[in-house]
Symmetry: C2
Subunit: 412 residues, 2 copies
């Protein structure tokens, strides 16, 4: 019986989770793959630190040691930053290794290149762990929705932001207090910019766009906003309407145009995202045949992310002769009725006398916080004139929901 | 270029949905499969009825006409009842056709036999459409959670029951009124027994059990109860506690013992099932590496079900040399902490003086409706003595939820 030799780059939360899972699930891997999976080497940064790793595993700070192993089948990358990881993975592919990555920033930037290179060398690239942690959204889009034409994907893709929003609402905390808690729990970095300003969700949205539509928009055209504009007061006002703030990445294609936004929005009780709380992630896929399917689960953490990597490993080993076709999904035009719900907004910083005829004030929820009905264009124009204005779309799927929302608001 | 020749058995909602989808997605199928998919024949019951079917399709009431087609690759079955469908599908396999079925009753009874026969003949069996309509739960379990050991599956698997419960709560309707509406909408049959007594969900649970654990319990050992014991009064009482009735199939393995229950239960706001409303289905899979993943989507309907069939068709065509291993999934023992939440019950028909020391009455919600904490065994014993007693478990995932629930209840 042959053995599958694996190297793990990085031994942080994800790297260690992958190592432990390969050890604990050795029998399952062998049962499914018909071969033993063996961790041959681990790339680390700091040789001094004590680690619980089997004696026969090569532990090194030099990637060249790993490349020079006599046998190496799969390289699993669980580091951060674009470099030197991109260089490492290119070298791994050149050597003929399959690669699996959990690094969204690197993969959003260089995924296309890595996949092209892998196709050339007839190896596979697994990247399930780059989006939504343990939720198998990449494989659902690639393997399970082959004939369905994806029309829109919406997702809560950043667990840290969702945790902060949840804590702010539940504990009536300020953003700063909730962020501190997220840092204490290990959900947020010392510098939280990547999470709270929406960069992390943006990278994931680009990866999803590529999977669903075969391409991504010009990065500069993407509206990206983090959760920092959301105050406790806004959250409280939203609660009066039974609405919750969620940080949502939305990816759709209208005609040949891919539309991506990554920003806070308000959702009502009937929206599947309303109840996605804490560090959970969720992804809702709207396709033409099946309609809307929502997947919810742990978006981060040692073992959920390791799960995505390990399932990729099984997939890669079982399918390593199947070439990836990254541009397979055909997309159809988005139904016209979509987006209607975006006509409702929660807005603050707006004086009532500024409201133009095209903007309907439906209700003042609390001092200076309004629910309005308006076109986005008009609000964008207002926003340009007055920087104190913040506005958030209230999401809903269908016209009837919008109408019932209007009734609810007018009944207040 | 070769052509994949398909026969569709049945031209009801599902059969027609499959036909229309193959027609409308001809280009997508050809792009993905590299071959044209062509409906060669359709089996119907009533030759008199007018149908919108292409002239070159053989439309027949005799299955032998279909078996005798010069070329036939795939037989899609969208009829009801166990027979003659089981016989038809056996013959189709014997002829060397892949089969795809949407018939849960037949598949729960004969799936094992059909798969064994298909393995013998080196053809595939697709049955995604038998469980949870358009939600790809079978393939998620088979393809995406290969290494994860499934520990528990819970599901809202019967859209009709969920619709009735939703209508009863939202519109304060009686069971009879809600059932009538379900029948008007085409969600329930004239004889609704199969749905409202839990048989449909039971069949689906048996199919899930086989996929997740490679086997199923003795059918007679399964606790199966429908939604008929749930009155408007009970629903109202549950609402006071912010709990909702859901009809839930639960499949787990403890040691070597497979436990399946199919019955109503109460869920709180934090449970992903709380917000699964109307004809939607949801399936929550708890596995050892990733934790809990929940899939939600349309559980029935012409196109959601057709979607499942069509995706099976793509899968079968792309994987027709891969033998199914139905017993692949290894299961681990369920964590001990599970099931603790089952100690809380909503109970009616119980006089306070019957309560034994082992049963703690936490609160009387309305006249004769109590929240209690008790062991199931004690309640089962009480139930045997007094047939007027009905009791429903209140679900929760973790101890902390139970505790917070207890706090909530005692604060009432």
């Amino acid at each position: 019986m042959t053995v599958i030799k694996v190297a793990i780059l990085g031994f942080g939360t994800v790297g260690e989770g992958v190592y432990r899972t390969i050890e604990s699930h050795a029998d399952d891997l062998e049962a499914v793959l018909g071969k033993k999976v063996e961790v041959a080497a681990i790339l680390i940064k700091n040789k001094q630190r004590e680690r619980n790793i089997r004696k026969d595993v090569l532990v090194t700070t030099d990637f060249e040691d790993i490349l020079n192993l006599p046998k190496l089948d799969i390289v699993i990358e669980a580091i951060v930053n674009k470099e030197p990881t991109f260089t490492f993975l290119q070298k791994a592919i050149e050597r003929g290794c399959h690669i699996i990555t959990a690094n969204k920033e690197m993969f959003a930037h260089h995924g296309k290149h890595l996949i092209a290179l892998a196709n050339e060398k007839s190896v596979s690239v697994g990247f399930e762990a780059t989006v939504a942690g343990g939720i198998p959204v990449i494989q659902t889009l690639r393997q399970l929705l082959k004939i369905n034409r994806v029309q829109q994907i919406q997702g809560i893709l950043n667990g840290t932001s969702n945790f902060i929003l949840t804590e702010m609402r539940e504990k009536k905390w300020s953003f700063a207090e909730a962020l501190l808690q997220a840092q204490k729990n290990g959900y947020a970095e010392a510098d939280p910019t990547n999470d709270v300003e929406g960069f992390d969700a943006f990278y994931k949205a680009m990866i999803l766009s590529r999977i669903a539509f075969g391409e991504e928009p010009n990065w500069k055209d993407v509206e990206r906003e983090g959760i920092t504009p959301i105050t406790s007061e806004l959250i409280e006002a939203a609660e009066k309407l039974e609405l919750r703030f969620k940080h949502i990445a939305s990816i759709s294609k209208e005609g040949t145009q891919i539309q991506v936004t990554v920003k806070p929005a308000l959702v009502g009780k009937e929206n599947p995202f309303y109840h996605v709380e804490g560090v959970e992630n969720a992804v809702s896929v709207h396709s033409d045949i099946v309609g809307r399917i929502t997947l919810q689960g742990p978006g981060a953490g040692m073992f959920p992310t390791a799960s995505a990597v390990i399932e990729d490993l099984a997939y890669v080993c079982q399918n390593n002769n199947i070439k990836r076709n990254f541009n397979q999904t055909v997309s159809a035009e988005l139904e016209q009725k979509k987006g209607k719900a975006k006509e409702f907004w929660l807005i603050t910083g707006l004086s009532k006398n500024v409201i133009k005829p095209s903007i309907t004030c439906i209700d003042e929820i609390s001092n200076g916080v309004f629910v309005i009905r308006a076109d986005k264009k008009d609000l964008d124009n207002l926003g340009k004139l007055d920087e104190t204005i913040s506005y958030f779309p209230i999401l809903g799927e269908f016209e009837s929901e919008v109408v019932s929302f209007e009734e609810k608001v007018s009944a207040l």
